[in-house]
Subunit: 140 residues, 2 copies
DNA sequence: CATAACGCTTACGTCAACGTCAAGCGCGAT
DNA sequence: ATCGCGCTTGACGTTGACGTAAGCGTTATG
């Protein structure tokens, strides 16, 4: 198991640009070490990137993602107050995602219905007629 | 069942600004009629708005949403080619949403795990100690 | 040793999705 | 008749999430 990664390795693995990874660093989402100027990414950094990209795919803003990452970092060594704050935030995200899941399932149902309708129209031969633009429209 | 709506009614119903609805019109997502200058939204417009907002919530861009709406409009009266194009596009969206659903489910699992961990820490009384900032830290 | 290949910083550019004025029109109530 | 309200059309501003170009240092390869 590799311990460290260059920026280039990660860009290829996750299909993001180096600009993006540096930007995430500027925004405080990751903090790779340096050997001189050069960034050295650890497995921890890599794990965070995976979380970031998944968060991005499900529609979280970078600010929200940063907040979650911070909570994961700090809710252990903070006091009760910090921990309860983290719990509340986690539940917020939870509810947001649950709503989103419903939206997605509804959309999936509709899309499958639309595709099914197209397929049965094709099966019924209702679409074998060429379009309006057909060059055979007047023959028959 | 109401047949038409003012812009204000819709902004209240869906909690969006009038600016947003006008913007969607500029972008070709809806096309309400006019009584003079004033926009009159039909049930069809309203249905499209519902689709737009749900699409937005699940992370589609307005361009993607417009494409889908256009497909719903035109794949009926187009020829076979149009219809098959629509089918392909619908399947693209379908796969995108399925991937997204997996991401969401994974995120939900993690969030529930994190919340569960917090809860058991609390139940075990491992969090009753005040934070570092405590005013009683030196007494004992 | 020159020239990629990779890495860095700084800084301006871009695109989507609206927000935010500014200025004006129609119209029902006072 | 004018007040204010709601609606309208520009047009510029803003925010998030990067893209892109300039310019430079380091490593490796023919």
């Amino acid at each position: 198991m590799q311990r460290t990664y260059t920026i280039r390795q990660l860009t290829k693995e996750f299909d993001v640009t180096a600009r993006t990874l540096r930007f995430y660093e500027d925004e405080g989402l990751i903090a790779p070490e340096r050997r001189g100027q050069t960034r050295i990414y650890s497995n921890r950094d890599r794990a965070r990137i995976i979380l970031i990209l998944r968060g991005r795919r499900v529609g979280f803003s970078l600010a929200e993602i940063r907040e979650i990452l911070d909570l994961y970092d700090t809710h252990h060594d903070g006091g009760v107050k910090q921990t309860l704050h983290a719990r509340r935030k986690f539940e917020e995200q939870l509810h947001k995602l649950e709503r989103q899941k419903v939206d997605i399932e509804d959309s999936l149902v509709e899309l499958r219905r639309a595709i099914g309708a197209i397929d049965s129209a094709i099966a019924d031969g209702k679409l074998t007629a060429p379009s309006v633009e057909s060059h055979r429209v007047a023959a028959e």
